[in-house]
Amino acid sequence: MRNPGRASLLAAIVALAPQGVHADDLGLRGTIEPELRVFTSSASNPQQRDTDISVSGEVTGKYMWDGGDQSLVVTPFARLDQQDYRRTHWDLREARYGLVMGKWEVRLGFDKVFWGVTEAVHLVDVINQVDIIEDPVKQEVRLGQPMLRLRTTQDFGSFDAFLLPYFRERDFPGPQGRPAYDLPVDMSLTRYESSRQDRHVDGAFRYSNHFGDIDLGLSYFQGTNRDPILTPTLSKDGDPVLAPFYAQMKQASFDVQATKGAWLYKLEGYWRRELGHEYEAATGGIEYTLYGVFGSEGDLGVVAEYALDSRGLMARDPYENDGFLALRWTANDEASTSFLGGAVVDAETGALGFRFKGERRLGDDYRLSLEAYFFGNVPRQDPIYSISDDNYLQFRIARFF
C-alpha cells in the first residue's frame, strides 16, 4: 500500500459509515495463518533459501443497516515473511459500500469480482490483479480493485457495469523470494502504454443469465491489461532484471456451463486486441462427480480441462496448449476432509506440473492444509522454465476467530 489514492478512497468509504450502528448489525471476524514452505531442490540464486516461515492475517469488519440493504465491508490482509521483503506485504482485499434498491445494486470501493466457469485456468476473469506473491502457481488470490459497480437483475438476466478508476500493479517476489523467475522483476522500471499510467480509467460490462441447465456470461473489458509484458534489461545498478510493461487491451469474452446431472460441461474464452495485434484463448472441459463412491459417504470428482492460446509459446500465459487432469476426494465428514491431486501437461513442450492439496478442519476453529507443487521435464523454452527449480511443500494452520 504505497499509493495515496487507496488511502483517500478508504477515508471516503469510512466517512460514509452510518451513525449509531446497532451491535446486531456489526460483524467482526478474522484469521491468523502461520505457514512453512520447504523447497526440495536447491535454489538457482544464492540469495534464495530452502525454507521459509511466514504468517498472514486477515480481518473482516461488516456493518449492515437499512434492513440489510446498505452495507460496509472492510477486509485488510497482511503477511510477514522471513525471507522475502516483497512477500511482507499488505492489501485491502475489500473496503466497499453497498446499496441494494430492489432490482438495482450499487457498490463503491475496493472489491473483488469473479468471472468464469473453469477450474484450472481463469482466462476471462480480468477485473482484479493477481496476488502472485500469495498464490504463485494457481493464481486464484486477487488484489482488491477500486471500482464503481452498478448492477441490475431483471427477467432478461443480470447486467453489470464497472468503472475502474485506478490500476493495481502486480507485486513480484524480491531477489530472496521463491518461487520466482531467475531474474528479479524490478518494479521501479514499470512502464505503461497509456500516458495516464496507473490512473487510466478502465471500464467493463457483463451480462449473465441461466436458461434451464445452461449458465451463460458475456463480458467486455477495455483498459490496462493486468498481465504485464516482462522484458530483460539492466537495473540502475547495472544488474540484469525484468522490467514490466502494461499494455492497453480490449477484450470480449464468454463463459458457459451446462449442468447435466453429475456432469458439468464448461467452456470459456476471449478475443483480445493489444498493441495492434489480435489473439484468442479458450479453455474448457468436464467435471464429473461420483457420489457416495466405494460405499462410503465421500465423493470423488474428476476434472479434465484443456487450454489453448493462439499466441502459442509467445503467450505470456503459461497455459498455451496444456491439458489438466485432477481428482478431488471430498470425505463429507465432520472435519470436511478433502484431497486434490492434479497434473498439467504442456502438449507443445512436454513440460509437466503436479499439484496436491489436502485439508481438514481441527475442532471448530482451526484448519490444517498441506500443499505441494512439483515440476518436471521442463525444457528451456517453456514459460515455467525459470520456476521449475522451485518445487515446494507448503504447510498451513489457520486459526479462525
Partner: protein, 277 residues
Amino acid sequence: MSGWIYRAGVCAAFAVTISVLAGSAHAEAPGLPAPTDATARGLAIAQENDKRDHGWGDAKADMKMILTNSSGETSERALRFMMLENTGDDDGNWSLMVFDKPADIEGTALLTYPHVKEADEQWLYLPTVKRVKRISSANKSGPFVGSEFAFEDFSTQQVAKFAYKWLKDEPCGTLTCHVVERTPQYEDSGYTREIVWIDTTDYQFRKIDYYDRKESLLKTLTYSDYKLYEGKFWRPQQLDMVNHETGKTTRLAWQAYSFHTGLSKDDFTTASLERAR
C-alpha cells in the same frame, strides 16, 4: 316383520355409535378416502399436510445443527435461512441458506430452486474467491455438511415427489397418527421407502423412518416442540435424526422464525447470493 325392523334398527344404531366413537378417536380431516383405498388415502393425507401450510409467503429463520458422533463428541454448525413459498405444483419453495459456523466456511451460501420433474437448480457462493458456482443437484443421498441429514432430507417435500400408501392409524404420543409409506419418485434417492407419521389433528410430520437400498432401517427422524406461527403455520423447533447404522445423531434447532418479512423473488437470485449478509 317387526322383529326384522327391530334388528335392523339396533344394527343401524350400533353402526352409528361405532362410527361416532371412531370419529371422535380419529378426528381426521373430512373427506379422506376410506382405508379400503390405501393409495388414495395416503395421497390425500400428504395433500392435507401440504394444504395446511399454504399462505406463509416468505420466511426467515436461524438454524443450529448439533452433530454427535458415536463416542459422544459434538460439533456445531449455524445457518441462516431465507425461504420463499412457491405454490405451483411443479416447483418447490425457493431457499437461500448462509453459513455462520464453522468459521472456515462462514459466508458460504447455497441457493436452491427445487423442481418436481426436472433436476433442482442450485448455486453455491464461495466467499473467499467471490465466486458463484452452478453445482450439480444429483447428490441427493450424500451427507449435508457432514451431518446425518442427506441433501434430500433438506429439500422441500413436494407431494408429487413421492408415491403413497396408507398403512394404518395408530396412537403417537398423546395424538393419533396416520402411518403412510411413501416411495421417492425422483432420481438418485438413497432410500427405497420412508414410513411417515402424520398426526390426525394438525396434519404435521411427527416421525419418519428411512429405509436404505438394502431394505434395512437406516435412520429415524423425530419432529418435536411444534410452535404455531400467525395462528396458522406449525413449525417444529427441534428435529432429531438418528443413524441406526453408525450411532451418530444430528439435532436441528430452529430459532427466530419470522413470516411475511417482505422477501421477494429479487432476494433469491444469483446476484443476491453475492451480497454481504
